[in-house]
């Protein structure tokens, strides 16, 4: 028997938590001498008030969906993959190689190949920590953190010494050929008569991300492998009893996780920048942790949380464009959102449960 109706748990609590975070954010904005109402207006209209705003919101959200899913899949096997950042960097390397060194006749084929390459590179980068965890017991939290740093060094080396076009001073690869240009939402929606902002970077990899959400959902909740991953995550001794190999699950879960993180490169590298730059991941791997935690490791939750963070990113960009509010305000708002919806949700839940219990008793 539950203490609360499901809708209260799923909708009401996050909503109240968000409102609390918003109130605190408003106080912070007041504290630095700005107008919170105007700021919120600007964020909402800037991020959600136009197809342009949506285009950016969804672009960021796409990144976060990939990294959030990556963290979530590992979480189901009780593995804490902090290495999404490095895996996404490697994914970018894979995408860049596919796009630069192979002439593609059409973007669809390039996208398929880029997906495969980014997943492969990301998975390889996750495989070593996974193997060390499974066979040597090396704590995956440390090794994945270390692999982030190593990935940064590797990417830096590749860009500065190998992939940088002659004569360019920018540590970035060449621009990808036009043939691998991924259609943006503008290009995708125009044929069906919907006019979407031309400027926004959201592109077809959004669909890849949504597809990834669905696939991960099916994988985790509908397949044997997902069943085994969850079982292993809940109880290692139970897994042994059921004939589930801890080694296999650790490896497979991390490979999938790394592949998902790597997939992010189809969005930011192939879809947006259309070249590989040094800090293309810009912390999305870490945001993925917050997204997965807030989304309770469920793909739909990850989807929603990714959009929330996309909104914060784009809303924040608008604030930065049109006001003098320092960009760090957005970081603070993110922190408050994570804090209230993620860590302090019991602060809302506990009193609510009492209310619902009293209501039920009253009815009975």
């Amino acid at each position: 028997m539950d203490k609360m109706p499901k809708w209260a748990d799923v909708v009401l609590i996050p909503l109240i938590s968000l409102i609390l975070a918003a109130i605190l954010s408003a106080l912070v904005i007041l504290g630095i001498g700005e107008d919170p109402v105007a700021a919120v207006n600007m964020m909402v209209s800037g991020a959600l008030g136009s197809t342009y705003g949506w285009g950016y919101t969804l672009y960021y959200a796409t990144n976060f969906m990939f990294t959030g899913l990556a963290v979530a899949v590992a979480f189901h096997a009780r593995l804490f993959n902090i290495g999404g950042e490095g895996q996404a960097m490697l994914g970018g390397l894979g995408v860049a190689m596919i796009c630069l060194y192979i002439p593609w006749p059409h973007w669809t084929m390039a996208l398929l190949a880029a997906c495969a390459a980014s997943m492969l590179f990301g998975a390889v980068w996750a495989a070593i920590p996974a193997y060390l965890q499974a066979r040597r017991g090396s704590h995956i939290v440390i090794t994945t953190i270390m692999f982030n740093f190593i990935a940064a060094a590797l990417l830096n080396y590749m860009l500065v010494n190998v992939m940088r076009p002659d004569g360019s001073m920018d540590p970035a690869s060449e621009r990808f050929p036009a043939a691998v240009h991924l259609p943006t939402l503008h290009e995708l929606l125009a044929p069906i008569g919907i006019s979407f902002s031309k400027a926004a970077p959201a592109n077809v990899s959004l669909l890849v991300a949504v597809l990834a959400c669905v696939v991960v959902w099916a994988l985790i909740w509908r397949t044997r492998l997902g069943y085994e991953i969850r079982a292993y995550g809940h109880s290692e001794s139970g897994a042994l009893y059921a004939g589930i190999s801890p080694f296999k699950i650790t490896m497979v879960a991390m490979l999938i996780s790394g592949a998902l993180a790597g997939l992010m490169a189809t969005n930011n590298v192939m879809g947006e920048a259309e070249r590989l730059v040094l800090n293309s991941t810009e912390g999305a791997g870490f945001i993925g942790i917050a997204v997965a935690l807030m989304g309770r490791s469920h793909p739909f939750g990850v989807f929603l949380a990714a959009i929330l963070f996309g909104f914060l990113y784009q809303g924040g960009a608008e604030l930065a464009l049109w006001t003098n509010i320092p960009r760090e305000l957005i970081v603070v708002i993110q922190a408050l959102v994570i804090l209230f919806t993620g860590a302090l949700d019991n602060m809302v839940r506990m009193p609510l449960e009492k209310v619902f219990l009293a209501l039920r008793k009253g009815n009975a």
């Binding site: 500065v160 970077p201 920048a273 730059v277 990113y313 960009a317 930065a320 464009l321 049109w322």
Partner: protein, 309 residues
């Protein structure tokens, strides 16, 4: 109304972006005008900020840093009536961009000479930020200046790191400086953004000389900073804003001749610079301007004659 787009380092990086901000500020104070600005937070915002400012009618739109080149090349054509200014970019092909490149190697050459002359130990240091070509470009000019004074002077060169954190790790800057001091360096040139703050600080603490970069950083530790390699981004921005919509486009190289780079001399470091030093450096400056002296740019073939990276 002009707009100014700072690079990821942020407008208060005590060097490159801050110089731009100072230029804009000067323009605003002098003319009473106002300008829009944004500190970029992510790669995707580069194009976004360009378009948003252009659409909002900002003119000119001034961008900082070579990383804007790529987005600019994608955006500029869509807004033919808007003038763009690209600092640190010289290779684009677009009619409505004013591209400004600085001959950092020339300025670095001069401070390199000063370092070699000020050094008593015969060893000087260079602390770069993230290991990218631009920073090597600085280091290369510096090394040539050092070697020009005395080919026997040893140069210790270090980069802070390979991630963007390399621009903001003063602790590492400190440690690198200490390491260089222990290898004998008694003048250290910092081209490392926020990390440089740690370099200058440690140099001051340990009683050696340092050289600032981009902005005039002599005042940070009066009497302890030998000089600063000036990159007159402030002037470039000021000029661009002043010219407004009538801005001249094209590629502009700001070298010593154009007073785009130079070294800082003020009350804070006057006592450190002997007349002899000043004479030598000014001579070299003139020779470079006259073409008698050629400072090799790292970009020419991705290598440096005076220093191995």
């Amino acid at each position: 109304e002009p707009a100014l787009i700072f690079d990821l380092g942020g407008k208060f990086d005590k060097s490159f972006n801050e110089a731009a901000f100072n230029g804009a500020q000067r323009w605003a104070e002098e003319t009473g005008g106002s300008f829009r600005e944004i500190e970029l937070q992510s790669e995707a915002q580069r194009e976004q900020a360009l378009r948003r400012f252009a659409e909002a009618g900002a003119n000119p739109v001034i961008t900082m840093g070579f990383a804007m080149a790529d987005p600019l090349s994608a955006v500029a054509a869509d807004y033919p009536d808007t003038k763009f200014v690209a600092v640190d970019v010289t290779w684009l092909d677009a009619p409505n961009i004013r591209q400004i490149g600085f001959a950092e190697h020339e300025g670095s050459y001069l401070v390199g000479m000063m370092a070699a002359m000020a050094s008593k130990s015969g060893t000087v240091g260079f602390v770069g930020g993230m290991d990218i070509p631009l920073i090597r470009h600085f280091g290369c000019g510096y090394a040539q200046g050092v070697k020009a004074v005395n080919p026997d002077v040893k140069i210790v060169a270090n980069m802070t790191g390979t991630t963007p954190a390399a621009w903001n790790d003063p602790v590492k800057g400190s440690e690198l400086t200490k390491a260089q001091i222990s290898q004998g360096a008694d003048v250290v040139y910092a081209a490392a953004g926020g990390t440089g703050v740690g370099v200058l600080q440690t140099a001051a603490d340990e009683g050696i000389l340092s050289i600032g970069v981009d902005s005039n950083q002599n005042h940070l530790h009066p009497g302890k900073v030998l000089t600063s390699m000036l990159k007159r981004v402030d002037v470039a921005v000021y000029d661009a804003m002043k010219a407004g919509e009538n801005l001249e486009t094209g590629v502009f190289n700001m070298g010593l001749a154009e007073e785009g780079v130079g070294y800082a001399l003020d009350d804070n470091n006057a006592a450190l610079i002997s007349g002899e030093m000043k004479a030598a450096v000014d001579q070299a400056r003139q020779d470079i301007i006259d073409g008698k002296l050629n400072v090799v740019s790292y970009y020419e073939n991705d290598s440096c004659p005076a220093l191995k990276f």
